[in-house]
């Protein structure tokens, strides 16, 4: 690799100017002639049979143009083809408060809203299942009668690698811990929005704030019963997503169906409360972790069990379940590993992927667990981790291929930046410092539906004036993917990112990319663009070489010029080289694609989740002050080092690291998914308690570059991994401050104060079923549900769930 002219430079994002001038067009900004406004009627019940729906009164309401219900789109759908248990609108049964039941299209939004109260739904309420223990044991209440598994189990996974029994037998000490990681939601500031337009030519276009236009395209074909060739999905710029816009949603199908019915464009924009119910956020997970270690700390065996509270539907749950176990082996040497995972259905909004998908919860458990082991062995927690690192270019016991591996450097960086080793265990009571490490995938090794095609495709075109256009199906969700693609193309072709137009997220204009999930875009789409642009680069070099009278391999391309590497004073303008190349080769357009190599995972059932072409690594140190009188914890500073392979755009990488630390801080300290009889207790941005600027600690980001051999220009992911070490680092810092282990999140002032007052050494679960007698919990929930129903019956109209 010669010197890079674009990669690694601190350049503004190509799409930032629209954001700064108010001209970026998000889905709700779209206005089309004759457009109708849609609203969804949502279930007020956590669990009920639908005996009938009568839309007569709503249809008769002035200004209402069309209404649809589940019966209009009864086809099963869901993001994972193997576990499709949803319908666009509820059919026969509702399984959570807020589940969409019917949809209205009207001349204006106020009318659509009024019409919801005129849809008569006859419900037969059923007992709700609201917790993991109940879900596992209540055979008599089945959320999905046809699931084919006992009680309310969605998925069970049991995997074993290496000699687990022998490993524990060889251990000098064995440590057992239970952990609980609270669920949380994404809370992107843009609420979900979609506009569908069915045109006279029988073609349908859906503009929507989605992370996965290609997968949505497939589901629309299935549910609408319309060939995919007639459907175009355009992912509009997402106003934040974080995993929350990566499922197909009711409003997207309803917009399409109502537009097809009325032959008019239809827009749906969810309100904030609806987004809390649409959810698909982080799973609450109860975990048991057992490790055997030698007296020097070497791990001999690990047994990890996870119980995931999945909510009412599958979403990505099958992948989430596997992910809780899969990446426990890529950071530290684990010679024998057993994993048991169970995901259950409950009558709550469906859980799905949130930044760190399924790995954030077990990482919290593992890094708190290692902190305890280090303490027992009298080792510095960072030095201990460095002693047991999984080596680069190795295989884990569960078959995962590890290539570039910068965890050791990340740990070094955060130690140096914070003076960790001099301060840990030495600070006065109430002050603490804690550390943790972690890893994440740079894209999943397999797509969600089985096929042999590329995971990412891109095409690149050069016009006669020297402009470059990149076409790629990626969704720009604020993570900076358009800038990554523009930078890769610009570096290859010797222009600047500002010379590159990016057409992304459009299923009609751009080749398929699987979407902006699993931190796959930089690695996979970056490689696809690199290949496409590389093909054009060869044509430019050949044409420029002929003109300058030097071989093509002596041509360099940079700063909008093609030049002789041996004598850079001899050069052509890029646009001139483009004209020569087009004259010689015809239209300058090339395609590229990327597919992860085979053989990067194991060959057992379940080996599909975990493999990735490269893992990112990160380490964090948190510094806290605990108020011993109030229990309030102030996180003073979070320092995170992240191995991103190579920073294509350093400010973009730093922004992902800082944003991850901020998001992890909120999850560690405050965010809670709490329900009363299936009703979300905090479905607003005020009550849900996201960190504001006044709450957020000082955040320091350190970029570590290991230059991955397979990544585009050496790059790996940056969007998700950096959240993972932050939460356990905070818990470990709180322990350093007050000698109380927080084996559950969030670490609230009430819990801290209670622990201080009662002299507790630990706050957390003690096992399955000990979080209160499930029968008693049920009785309480039954009572609150009955009270709520009584109150609702006394109210004239409307309900919180119908917003």
């Amino acid at each position: 690799m010669s010197e890079l002219s674009v990669i690694g430079k601190r350049l503004p994002k190509v799409n930032v100017w629209q954001h700064l001038t108010g001209t970026a067009r998000y889905a709700d900004d779209i206005q089309l002639p004759r457009m109708l406004y849609g609203r969804l009627l949502r279930s007020p019940h956590a669990h009920a049979r639908i005996r009938g729906i009568d839309t007569t009164r709503a249809l008769a309401h002035p200004g209402v143009v069309a209404v649809c219900t589940g019966a209009d789109m009864p086809e099963r759908m869901g993001i994972m083809p193997s576990t499709q248990d949803e319908t666009a609108l509820a059919v026969g049964k509702v399984r959570y408060v807020g589940e969409p039941v019917a949809a209205v299209a009207a001349l204006d939004e106020d009318t659509a809203y009024e019409a919801l109260a005129l849809i008569d739904v006859d419900y037969e309420p059923l007992e709700p299942i609201l917790g993991i223990e109940e879900a596992l044991t209540r055979e008599d209440v089945r959320i999905h009668e046809d699931s084919g598994r006992p009680a309310n189990v969605f998925k069970e996974v049991h995997l074993e690698f290496g000699d687990v029994e022998g490993g524990f037998a060889a251990a000098d000490r064995v440590r057992d811990d239970w952990y609980f990681f609270e669920g949380s939601t994404h809370a992107a500031i843009e609420t979900h929005s979609a506009v569908a337009s069915y045109e006279g030519d029988g073609k349908l276009t859906l503009w929507t704030s989605t992370q996965v236009p290609h997968y949505l395209h497939r589901e629309l074909e299935k549910v609408l019963g319309m060939p995919r060739s007639l459907i175009r999905v355009v992912a509009t710029p997402n106003g934040g997503a974080f995993g929350g816009k990566s499922d197909p949603f009711a409003h997207e199908f309803a917009a399409c169906w109502l537009s097809m019915r009325t032959k008019r464009p239809v827009k749906f924009t969810l309100d904030r409360e609806e987004v809390f119910y649409a959810h698909r956020g982080r799973h609450p997970v109860l975990m048991h972790l057992r490790s055997g270690v030698k007296s020097d700390g070497e791990i001999t065996a690990v047994h990890f069990q996870s119980y995931l509270d999945g909510g009412a539907y599958a979403s990505y749950g099958i992948a989430t379940t596997y992910y809780t176990g899969a990446l426990m082996t890529v950071t530290y040497r684990v010679p024998a590993y057993k994993f048991d995972g169970v995901r259950v259905y409950t009558n709550k909004p469906p859980c799905g992927p949130k930044r760190g998908h399924g790995t954030t919860q077990p990482r919290y458990a593992l890094e708190c667990h290692l902190d305890k082991i280090a303490e027992e062995l009298g080792l510095d927690p960072i030095a201990y981790r460095q002693r047991i690192l999984q080596p680069p270019d190795s295989r884990t016991v569960n078959g995962l291929r590890v290539t570039s591996m910068g965890l050791g450097q990340c740990l070094d960086e955060v130690r140096r930046a914070t003076g960790f080793s001099e301060r840990h265990g030495q600070l006065p009571r109430g002050k603490g410092i804690g550390a943790a490490g972690s890893a994440y995938i740079s894209g999943a090794g397999l797509p969600i539906y089985w096929n042999e095609m590329p995971h990412s495709g891109a095409s690149v075109k050069i016009d006669r004036g020297g402009g470059v256009t990149v076409y790629c199906g990626t969704a720009e969700i604020g993570q900076g993917s358009d800038m990554v693609l523009a930078s890769v193309a610009a570096e290859q072709l010797g222009v600047l990112p500002e010379d590159v137009h990016v057409v992304s997220g459009d299923t009609s204009l751009a080749p398929v990319d699987l979407g902006s999930y699993s931190s796959r875009v930089t690695f996979m789409a970056g490689n696809a663009v690199r290949q496409a642009a590389g093909r054009l680069r060869a044509l430019l070099a050949e044409a420029a070489g002929e003109r300058l009278g030097v071989p093509a391999d002596r041509i360099g391309l940079a700063q909008r010029r093609a030049y002789d590497l041996a004598d850079p004073s001899r050069s052509l303008a890029f646009a001139e080289a483009a004209v020569l190349a087009e004259s010689k080769h015809g239209t300058l357009m090339a395609a590229g694609s990327y597919k992860p190599p085979k053989g990067i995972g194991g060959d057992y059932k379940g080996a599909g989740v975990g493999p990735s072409p490269a893992y990112s690594y990160q380490a964090a140190v948190a510094e806290v002050t605990v108020d011993l009188e109030t229990g309030g914890v102030t996180v003073e500073r979070i320092t995170t080092a992240h191995d991103c392979g190579r920073a294509i755009n350093p400010p973009g990488v730093e922004g992902q690291i800082e944003g991850s630390a901020y998001m992890g801080y909120g999850e560690a300290m405050a965010e809670e998914q709490v329900f009363r009889g299936g009703l979300h207790k905090k479905p607003s941005l005020l009550e849900y308690r996201l960190p504001t600027s006044l709450d957020t600690p000082e955040l320091r980001a350190i970029v570590v570059e290991t230059v991955d051999a397979e990544g585009p220009f050496g790059a790996k992911e940056a969007g998700e991994g950096p959240i993972n070490p932050v939460i356990p680092a905070i818990a470990n810092a709180v322990y350093d401050a007050i000698r109380v282990r927080f084996d559950e999140t969030p670490i609230t002032p009430a819990k801290v104060l209670d622990a201080l007052q009662k002299g507790k050494a630990r706050v957390g679960p003690d096992g399955l079923g000990t979080r209160g007698d499930p029968k008693a919990a049920l009785r309480r929930l039954g009572a609150t549900t009955a009270a709520r129903e009584k109150k609702r019956a006394a109210e004239p109209a409307g309900s919180p769930g119908e917003g």
């Binding site: 001038t21 067009r25 106003g239 904030r272 400010p651 922004g655 800082e658 960190p691 957020t696």
Partner: protein, 183 residues
């Protein structure tokens, strides 16, 4: 409900619009005037995405009725640039990567403008207070502080009216959600 005619001054232009009297300034800006740069994340005064300036003060347009502000000067993100010349905050936000998804950005820019117009050399605490009602889920706020600091330096080279008290946002959301103490 019957629509009423309103005369609104927005970004230096006077518009006569017909709007339902119960529709908020946010709705009228976006739906009647096509000024979709102003965003919404809750329409309950909780997120700050809809922040505009009214006579230079940051106000939540989702909690403001246009009838209340006839005659006042409204500034939205579309009015931030001076003709073709971007405001120093816009340039600094680009250079410091202070906008990721860009959705909170218009409100953030206007809250920051109100701060800098009143306080040309704000501390980090001043900045944290000024944007405490504007939730950002992407950046962790760090890059936003860096951008405001950078813009402040540029703007101090071109002095404007100074000495006024920093304006306080009206409404309930300008606070910590997690118990942070105001300095």
């Amino acid at each position: 409900m019957t629509k009423r005619l309103l005369a609104l001054r927005v970004n230096g232009e006077t518009h006569t619009v017909a709007a339902e009297p119960h529709h908020t300034l946010l709705e009228v800006l976006r739906e009647e005037l096509g000024l979709t740069g102003t965003k919404h994340g809750c329409e309950l005064g909780e997120c700050g995405a809809c922040t505009v300036l009214i006579d230079g003060r940051p106000v939540l347009s989702c909690l403001t009725l246009p009838l209340e502000i006839e005659g006042a000067e409204v500034t939205t993100v579309e009015g931030l640039a001076n003709g073709p010349e971007l405001h120093p905050l816009q340039v600094a936000f680009a250079e410091e990567a202070a906008a990721q998804c860009g959705y909170c950005t218009p409100g953030m820019l206007l809250a920051a403008k109100a701060l800098l117009d009143a306080n040309p050399a704000p501390s980090r605490e001043d900045m944290a207070r000024a944007i405490a009602g504007n939730l950002c889920r992407c950046t962790g706020y760090t890059a936003i502080y860096e951008a405001i600091e950078k813009a402040a330096v540029v703007m101090r080279d071109v002095p404007r009216g100074a000495g006024a008290e920093p304006p306080r946002r009206e409404g309930a959301s300008n606070s910590s959600r997690m118990g942070a103490k105001l300095p």
